[in-house]
């Protein structure tokens, strides 16, 4: 029982991200409105970003900015005192790319609305078949 509880506590963060990711994926699959699909895509991206950030965490470590970085005496930093900077770098760029993809996605949605006067997927498909 104690071991099960330990597993529950130590992996709970991953399960939150998996639940978030599944909410986003369900939004992409099941919602018919294109804007809702884009919102689902954004929730999925957020889940992946949180997952990466949590990989970088270390117990008893601080943010990856070296204290007294310019004093030559202290320049040798211990790896256990600072969290892993690499996931932060990757996600920093991923957030910006998420904004860029959101911009292009909204652009396409505006064009689709200008063409078909609706954003519901089934109505757009009907209008395409009519032609």
């Amino acid at each position: 029982m104690d071991a099960l509880f330990n597993i529950l506590i130590s992996r709970a963060n991953y399960w939150v991200y998996i639940v978030l990711m599944m909410i986003g994926l369900y939004g992409i699959i099941a919602k018919k409105n294109l804007v809702k699909k884009i919102i689902g895509m954004n929730i999925l991206q957020t889940a992946v970003i949180l997952f990466y950030i949590s990989i970088g965490a270390k117990k008893n470590a601080t943010i990856p900015i070296i204290e007294h970085g310019h004093d030559t005496a202290h320049s040798a930093a211990t790896a256990t005192l600072y969290i892993n900077p690499l996931p932060h770098v990757l996600m920093l760029t991923a957030i910006v790319v998420a904004v860029a993809t959101l911009g292009v996605a909204l652009t396409l949605v505006i064009k689709i609305h200008q063409q078909y006067h609706t954003l519901e997927e089934n109505e757009i498909l009907e209008k395409i078949r009519e032609k």
């Binding site: 991953y14 994926l25 369900y26 699959i29 070296i66 904004v99």
Partner: protein, 276 residues
């Protein structure tokens, strides 16, 4: 469709949760992700680049190529938005509406009627009912310069505190978007025209790629900032720090310009008229 999606999502989620049992626990200092490359970055990056903020050092120096193409992705998104949405032909609606700012009286100019576009006492409006919010406009006019100064601080201080080109660029772009929301799109475009935003986004990418080419011309590898030591008159380690600042400024300019471009085109569906 809904039931099928739900079943698929539940199956995939339970597979992922089963897989997560093998993952290292939260905050494990010897997890695989933290035990190979990241100790090298933490221990040597101050010696290599003299930048205390490891995220900035890794972003712009060790992974400089990645960040350069990331900037190009942003640039491509802005250009793609313009190509997809922008409507260049001017539609002549015939009647135009102008509002006297002090009194709120609306003038309707019929087709053929002349009106001085540059008059400061009047502003052009598209729909009849757009309220003139004095409080919102005054507050934003006071706040925007401080937001911009904060954005510049975030770009310039990215070496020593959380920050850098991407974050500062987004803050600068948000200041411009706040101005456009509080006033209207026309006055924002008068302040910062479309041509200027496109030129700035190109300039940002050019600064980043040009720094790399400059390093090559001086006989070093692409984006190896040690080459700048002779130009800047500092030792090679400090040259890394200055090189990072130069490319971060390029990133900041490009991100700011692309954010503003995306807002201009999305808010007005490419027509660049009144907008939201």
């Amino acid at each position: 469709m809904k039931i099928g999606g739900l079943i698929l999502v539940v199956i995939l989620g339970s597979v992922l949760i089963y897989g997560s049992l093998e993952f290292p626990p939260w905050g494990d200092p010897v997890s695989p992700a933290s035990s190979h490359l990241s100790p090298y970055y933490i221990e040597t990056s101050v010696e290599d680049t003299s930048v205390p903020n490891l995220v900035t050092a890794v972003l712009a120096d060790y992974r400089g190529y990645d960040t350069m193409f990331e900037t190009i992705v942003i640039f491509t998104a802005g250009i793609g938005c313009i190509f997809l949405l922008r409507i260049f032909r001017k539609e002549e609606t015939g009647t135009r509406l102008y509002r006297h700012i002090a009194t709120g009286i609306t003038l309707r100019i019929e087709k053929g009627g002349k009106f001085p576009e540059t008059s400061a006492a009047f502003e052009r409006i598209d729909s009849v009912w757009v309220p003139h919010d004095l409080i919102v406009k005054t507050t934003c006019r006071l706040i925007v310069p401080f937001i911009q100064i904060f954005g510049l601080y975030v770009i310039a201080h990215g070496h020593h505190s959380p920050g850098g080109g991407f974050q500062g660029g987004v803050i600068l772009g948000a200041a411009m978007i706040l101005y456009a929301v509080a006033f209207n799109l026309r006055s924002a475009i008068q302040r910062m025209g479309e041509r200027l935003t496109v030129m700035l986004s190109t300039l940002g990418v050019f600064i980043y790629a040009g720094t790399g080419v400059l390093c090559m011309l001086l006989g070093f590898n692409y984006l190896d900032y040690s080459a700048l030591a002779s130009l800047l008159g500092v030792d090679p380690v400090t040259a890394h720090s200055h090189g990072i600042l130069i490319v971060e400024i390029g990133v900041g300019i490009a991100v700011m310009a692309v954010m503003v471009t995306l807002y201009y085109n999305l808010a007005s569906a490419g027509k660049h008229d009144e907008g939201l």
